[in-house]
Symmetry: C2
Amino acid sequence: ALGLLASGAPQPPNIVLMLMDDMGWGDLGVYGEPSRETPNLDRMAAEGMLFPNFYSANPLCSPSRAALLTGRLPIRNGFYTSNAHARNAYTPQEIMGGIPNSEHLLPELLKKAGYTNKIVGKWHLGHRPQFHPLKHGFDEWFGSPNCHFGPYDNKVKPNIPVYRDWEMVGRFYEEFPINLKTGEANLTQLYLQEALDFIRTQHARQSPFFLYWAIDATHAPVYASRPFLGTSLRGRYGDAVREIDDSVGKILSLLQNLGISKNTFVFFTSDNGAALVSAPKQGGSNGPFLCGKQTTFEGGMREPAIAWWPGHIAAGQVSHQLGSIMDLFTTSLSLAGLKPPSDRVIDGLDLLPNMLQGHTMDRPIFYYRGNTLMAVTLGQYKAHFWTWTNSWEEFRQGIDFCPGQNVSGVTTHTQEEHTELPLIFHLGRDPGERFPLSFASDEYQDVLSRMTQVVQRHQKSLVPGQPQLNVCSQAVMNWAPPGCEKLGKCLTPPESVPEKCSWPH
Amino acid sequence: ALGLLASGAPQPPNIVLMLMDDMGWGDLGVYGEPSRETPNLDRMAAEGMLFPNFYSANPLCSPSRAALLTGRLPIRNGFYTSNAHARNAYTPQEIMGGIPNSEHLLPELLKKAGYTNKIVGKWHLGHRPQFHPLKHGFDEWFGSPNCHFGPYDNKVKPNIPVYRDWEMVGRFYEEFPINLKTGEANLTQLYLQEALDFIRTQHARQSPFFLYWAIDATHAPVYASRPFLGTSLRGRYGDAVREIDDSVGKILSLLQNLGISKNTFVFFTSDNGAALVSAPKQGGSNGPFLCGKQTTFEGGMREPAIAWWPGHIAAGQVSHQLGSIMDLFTTSLSLAGLKPPSDRVIDGLDLLPNMLQGHTMDRPIFYYRGNTLMAVTLGQYKAHFWTWTNSWEEFRQGIDFCPGQNVSGVTTHTQEEHTELPLIFHLGRDPGERFPLSFASDEYQDVLSRMTQVVQRHQKSLVPGQPQLNVCSQAVMNWAPPGCEKLGKCLTPPESVPEKCSWPH
Ligand SMILES: [Ca+2]
Ligand SMILES: [Ca+2]
């Protein structure tokens, strides 16, 4: 039964968004991973709704996360670079930019409906003080502003801090060890405990809560805690997946044991495709799809996605709705009884009509790389206006975003423009983007004219945000985050010399 | 409850082997096909046991079928060619050879336990009278000796006949139309009806039965009946899969409605990997695996596989047992209370200890192409002794068994020998065979020494059968099969001029 808020209004459902890092579409048993080691996620799908056609908003971590929390494409919310044509960009430590104050983040809005909001794990929307998640609507934070890269020397580059709320409580590779040789780290267990504690506390407080569980064990360097290390048929990456799967099971069990599963909407997805550049030991699987992280092929942006809300979303459903990570913004607002902001373009749709009533909504999926619209999907068809994996120079150095895959004229190592005559694929017959439609076919002509209209409408009304990922400076790195004094861990930043960030691909 | 035979002995379970044609590992929802259009097969898996590591004995139709029915590798039972090194061969109409009389086929043996045996669909073990399935243990047949290729002119080449038992009842493209333009054919409906009728009749007779349901709608030219045409998100191939899925559902439902599901062992699999050379319109999906039909990469020989036996095989299990199509021979004998022949090598294992008690058996999977051992899998490791897809000449003509895939030094277009230093892959971390282990690694050395022992043992004791696929003659084709007189459809064969068959890849 729904509870009541202090105001007497019926209490909206709790919201748990589980966002994985670099986990691929093909990494779950229910999506066909041959080792099938995700019994909890597979059960979550069997008890809920599986989305085989769910997309990230970008093939990289931070733009994708900014899109989730704003409901807007990175080209609108500023999480892109204009330093070069069609470049992938994210938020390394030295980035000057971050989430603009002008953006309304999901937790900010949920507060208005009485939610208590917590982020567990990776923020990745900026390192400078003004970008702190507690300044953008979150009430609590346990996690880090960036990936768990390292170890760094704390001279040229500081180790990434781990925060509890406003203050750092240590750094990766120091207070929060990660053994790169063995892959051992207990971070997923910490993140699990934070989630369980938060759920218990908010339940006791009778407060509706929003938990953004943004864990990162599947991002290279992948890690798992000792009980999971060496247990997967898939190696270390699989160990990380198994620990995550186990944790998801524990979170869902807690919701059931507390009797709040029917009042808690849970969604599981990932921020971008598996990083095949790190495969096979440090990267996952994109199943039958082409290429991986960094690319605008399906492997870069099609994501595992499961919705779970017992008593509301019927069990065992598969939805072929084209879904987007940005829909989690609008859907969450809808769950809270809120309308999305009306003063700006919101790209996310409310998926509740699809999840609850089975309505399918027509909508395009846009695939951007930096400032460039690379591709669009409409219904079953995908058109590529630009193709690029990475440069020949990088490729020859062994950086390969499509290992073992090579589709002639498609997985190109030069930026190829197809805006006049896009490469079009039928993703139903050809999910692997291997067989472009013949330009001369009626099918091609029909699709192209529909696509063109949609793209023109999109581009005509597009107002790009101020690009946040153009300028870098060593001085903005995490030298002396708040709380460092208490720990005696303040480092001295160098002088600020802002410069153009370099984005190689 | 088990019935009793006329002899008073308890009645062994019925056996239904559903063998698909060119259906790929990735074609079922439960194996991750993105359109997820196989609700009946997915339910069959949820009610039974899924095998993600199940293999054909050959990447082509007839050798694979000969292996299933004899429990023996094609190199032993004669279903190979020695006309050239490492050539794929099967049984076209003009083949002189077929299943040798010296081989003991599964239905022959099951007869001894009182089974009534029926083959529905494609036989493919030889066209000449001595190879007729009713001479090899089957009591009934509705189907064809070959694929539904055509239409032929009945002058240079006759259309393939369709048999009922001993006599032909028509020919494909004549009495049994297939519309190549629309893809319409009602053959799957005919094959479904034959299965349902046989099950009902044998149930009424209280006879244990063996149904070998070898349907072929997913072999190019793919077809579906009118109610299914145009219904799949995947195009015509998907229409065929949907009709098959629907038919599987109807067969399982009948078993349940008759109350004999607990006394009927059902196994679903395919004869070889999806024919990517015919994709995307006429070929399926091998999921994350490399290449397809014709090759000894995983895409050529790893198959979908589901065991279903309510009340005996517990629901919802996944078995990582390395399984083989040849195990269906030995397992079926075991179900019937029979021992496999002891006067010859049987490659198939009895899977019942795995399916019923969860025992995992160590065993190698051998990947032959013609007379050549191309690769072996042991545990999680696969070693390639030879790599070849097809010749440069064929490849340049557009014949591509690995479209969009290219693993340097692996998907070779010349026959590359690696017998001294095999390419070894870890199929758990790297199911797509993209990242060979480093020759210098300890892992490589460990695995190689174990592999070498297994292969040496195999090769030392191997006695190749007389190759059946070496000699062809136009005269042996289906000019005047028995029953042609009644139909007025006898054609005049040309003079017999036996010659070496040519196998291009
Ligand atoms: Ca990521
Ligand atoms: Ca076949």
